[in-house]
């Protein structure tokens, strides 16, 4: 019997190694081999999750003795639950006619099933011992197999995850490239549209300017008024085209930044002078608080644009006879610029919104605006290594504070 046992273990070992791929056949193969070791043997593996009444008894007994011979009554009981067997090698009645031995399949003390062997001989001590050893080995083999299945599944899951990640990465890369292309197309489109809009504007503004400057003769009062209106509207349109172009340049990071040394006082005074017709028209009192009278290193055109944007906004949103105060100051190494008005103000909930693109607040008159002015201003301030913040209360007024590092020469 021992030689049989060794041979069978070797066979099982080999068989398992060779048939690893054929997953579903594993248990059957195990049992098939076992049955080939004995003449006239019937073998079944019964897993505990399927355990019914009769085997509960068997389990109780098998804890006391390692091998347990089933009584005919018990065999009959468990044959009723046939469907739950992993396999039955021979016909049912073989179990009844032969002597049947049940051994537990367990790892340490945790039982997960039974091996049921029936032979037409009597079980002697040696056979029982051999079968007990065999069932121990089979227990480990089964668990090994199941574990390796779990590992295989986990490995596959991991591989899939890695593949998925790779795939996702590829998709993102593709999308990114596509987005870049779209962005390029968008910028090109904006450059073209800017060109195409400027061409007719050249004639509109040019001819009206030519008439307005009276180089071709005098105009009557109404004609002079209308020609001014055409010019203003043309320039307004131009302003909006420029804003759209600016934002596309800023977003494409192709905005040129050419800093030169400037007198802060002079640049601010220039901006105030240019906007004079606008604020005198509304009888707004503009005060310039010049606490810093030194040089700053900034891009002249862009710095002026910042001032124009903030000042014209302040004028736009301040009532007749209102007040605007511009403060130019330094705080240690930082340059501080404040533009304060007592206009309509901005609700707190909208403070974070106003720097976003295309934002128009409901309570204000924003006709004829692209909704890009403050977005551009913020970006231009950033270009100068500065930051812009605001304090504002509805119906009280707004203060924009610009703080620049390393701007002072």
């Amino acid at each position: 019997m021992h030689s049989v046992l060794i041979r069978s273990l070797n066979l099982i070992d080999r068989y398992i190694n060779e048939t690893e791929a054929k997953d579903s056949d594993f248990y059957e193969s195990c049992l098939l081999l076992l049955s080939s070791l004995f003449d006239e043997v019937s073998v079944a593996i019964y897993f505990l999750e399927d355990c019914e009444y009769c085997l509960k008894t068997a389990l109780k007994n098998s804890k006391q003795v390692q091998g347990y011979e089933l009584s005919n009554c018990e065999i009959a009981e468990f044959l009723k639950t046939e469907k739950k067997y992993k396999i039955l090698k021979t016909k049912k009645d073989k179990f009844l006619n032969n002597n049947t031995l049940i051994t537990k399949l367990a790892i340490r003390d945790s039982v997960f099933g039974f091996l049921i062997v029936s032979i037409n001989d009597d079980f002697n001590n040696e056979t029982v011992q051999s079968l007990v050893t065999l069932s121990n080995v089979i227990s480990y083999k089964i668990k090994d197999y199941e574990l390796s299945e779990v590992f295989k599944l986990q490995l596959k899951a991991m591989q899939d995850a890695v593949l998925d990640k790779q795939k996702a990465y590829e998709i993102i890369k593709k999308q990114h490239k596509k987005l870049q292309e779209i962005d390029k197309t968008k910028n090109l489109f904006l450059a073209n549209i800017s060109h195409d809009l400027r061409t007719p504007l050249n004639a509109i503004i040019g001819f009206s300017q030519a008439l307005d400057s009276k180089i071709f003769g005098e105009l009557n009062e109404k004609q002079a008024e209308y020609i001014k209106d055409i010019q203003i509207s043309g320039l307004h349109l131009l302003g909006m085209i420029n804003e759209i172009l600016d934002i596309s340049k800023l977003e494409a990071h192709v905005m040129k930044y050419t800093p030169t040394e400037l007198s802060a006082k002079q640049v601010i005074q220039e901006a105030i002078n240019v906007l004079e017709p606008l604020y005198t028209n509304k009888d707004i009192n503009v005060k310039f608080n010049c606490e810093f009278d030194g040089l700053i290193k900034a891009d002249y055109q862009k710095f002026q644009q910042i001032l124009f944007n903030l000042l014209s906004n302040a004028i736009k949103f301040t009532h007749k006879n209102g007040k605007i105060v511009i403060t130019s100051a330094s705080d240690k190494k930082n340059y501080i610029l404040k533009i304060q008005d007592n206009g309509i103000g901005i609700e707190k909930k909208n403070h974070s919104k106003i720097f976003k693109k295309f934002v128009h607040l409901d309570n204000v008159y924003t006709k004829n605006s692209t909704g890009l002015g403050l977005t551009i201003t913020k970006e231009l301030v950033k270009l100068h290594n500065g930051k812009i913040t605001l304090e504002s209360e509805l119906n009280k007024g707004t203060t924009f504070t610009l703080e620049f590092k390393n701007l002072i020469v």
Binding site: S194, H195, T199, N202, A203, I204, I205, G206, A210
Partner: protein
Amino acid sequence: MKKILVTEDNELNLKLFVDILKYQNYDVDVATDGVIAYEKIKKNSYDLIILDIQLPKMDGFSMLKKLQEENFALPPVIIASACVMDVDKIRAKQFNVSAYITKPIDINLFIKTVKQTII
């Protein structure tokens, strides 16, 4: 009388330039595409060229490049273009043009620039 060539493909813009320049007592010739402009520049002698960049058949830069490769002695050039991107301005600098005016032009600035450039 100083002679100026205006290259411009837009009819109304051409009219605007021509009217203003004529009124300033210049002799004005016109070209409505790059090829005509190229031929006129080679055949006639001008004191100044007002050049558009986007022109049919041959764009302004290509024309300047061609003339430069032929070692042609160009009169002063003022570019008047609706191209406002920095790349165009940088390219213009490489051709050593006298001025770059963006459209829509301010006619006072335009007249001033012409007066300063023409010798």
